[in-house]
């Protein structure tokens, strides 16, 4: 028996009945491409990545703090520029010069997929340049800018914790 046939027999069928899931899949087919994907990755990265960096006990505290600041800046800048450049390039890919040769015979959905691919490819080339010109200096600038509020927030929470610790110590001494 083939491996695929084994899975075919034993894997249960997944049948989408709920309207919400069907609408989500339909929405993905119609509207989601590389800019939206970049946005989804960026927004979730803003929550998960700094948290993972902050909990990395393999490095000392100072390095950890800079790592969090750098990650935050990188995600914010990368997502913003990534989204807008991809979106602009997909619009640009609809220009005559980028169209496929026999455009009249191509179905609409295939043409849309082609424009998305061409736009994303153009964006990748353009972003090789903008990564150096825009992303890199902006990330460096934002990393330094984030440092002040980050330290202020951190100090605020550390100070809040310290009186508690002191109070605990006083209790232990009193006993």
């Amino acid at each position: 028996m083939k491996i695929s046939n084994f899975f075919l027999k034993h894997i249960p069928e997944m049948k989408f009945k709920k309207n919400f899931i069907k609408k989500t899949i339909d929405f993905c087919d119609k509207y989601v491409s590389s800019p939206q994907q970049r946005l989804a990755i960026g927004v979730t990265a803003l929550v998960t990545q700094p948290l993972i960096d902050y909990c990395n006990k393999n490095v000392d505290e100072k390095t950890r703090d800079i790592s969090v600041q750098k990650t935050l800046a990188k995600v914010i800048v990368g997502t913003t520029t990534g989204y807008f450049i991809r979106d602009l390039c997909i619009k640009l890919s609809k220009a005559k010069i980028f169209n496929p040769n026999d455009i009249k015979n191509i179905p609409k959905n295939k043409l849309r997929n082609y424009h998305n691919a061409m736009g994303t490819f153009l964006a990748t080339i353009i972003m090789t340049g903008t990564n150096f010109i825009l992303d890199a200096p902006l990330t460096a600038f934002l990393t330094n800018q984030i440092a002040k509020p980050y330290n202020a927030i951190k100090n605020h929470f550390v100070k809040e914790k310290q009186p508690q610790k002191n109070a605990d110590k006083m209790e232990v001494n009193a006993q």
Binding site: K15, C28, D29, A40, I52, T63, Y114, A117, T128, N131
Partner: protein, 220 residues
Amino acid sequence: MSLKKIFESGKTFLYNQFSEGGGNMLIWMGALGWFTAAIAQIVVLNVNKKIPKQEKGFLIKQEVADGAVNCGMYLGFTKLVQMGVNWGLEKGKITTDTIKPIVEKAAKDKKIDLTKHLEKSNISDLLKDKACDLAKFKKFKNGVDIFTNLIASVIACNIVTPLARNYIASIWSKKDKKNKKPQVEQNLMLKPAFQNKVEFKGKTNLNAYQQNALMNPLKF
């Protein structure tokens, strides 16, 4: 080959590879994007003068690990998920209450056993004579492909990648520290400093002198 011909063949390549569905394009272009972004970040870290040298070493290693893991995980994980989902879609394991009747009707019209057909072939092959039904199936397939790719790329880039890159970078920096230690120890000489005239005044004695020399070893 002229530039115009290269451009035209590039357009044809993109059309042939990615016009069928958006999922495949998202995977390959995404990996290419992560690669170029990592190179830029490494360059900027090198240039940033406000980050101290000690931290810079770790951050650059973190960035190299980040780039390699990003590309590897992104490609490996998302491609694996895509292959699994495409298999499920083509074999009828992932379906909806609108697609399933279409497939069953097509099998009935052709007078074939659907289960046996799917063991050897797939749904696209079954619907190839019915353009309208095939378009409906492909639309659904593309939507699921993009949706799962979106989730897979979020997991690959935001959960697996940062954990893996921190782990790899910390291993590198630990190895670095180990390599540096013996060099420092070799250059230290834990012997009392040689002095021509040694005077003992007040409470100073030979033990105190030796202790002082051990605290401040000579460096060569």
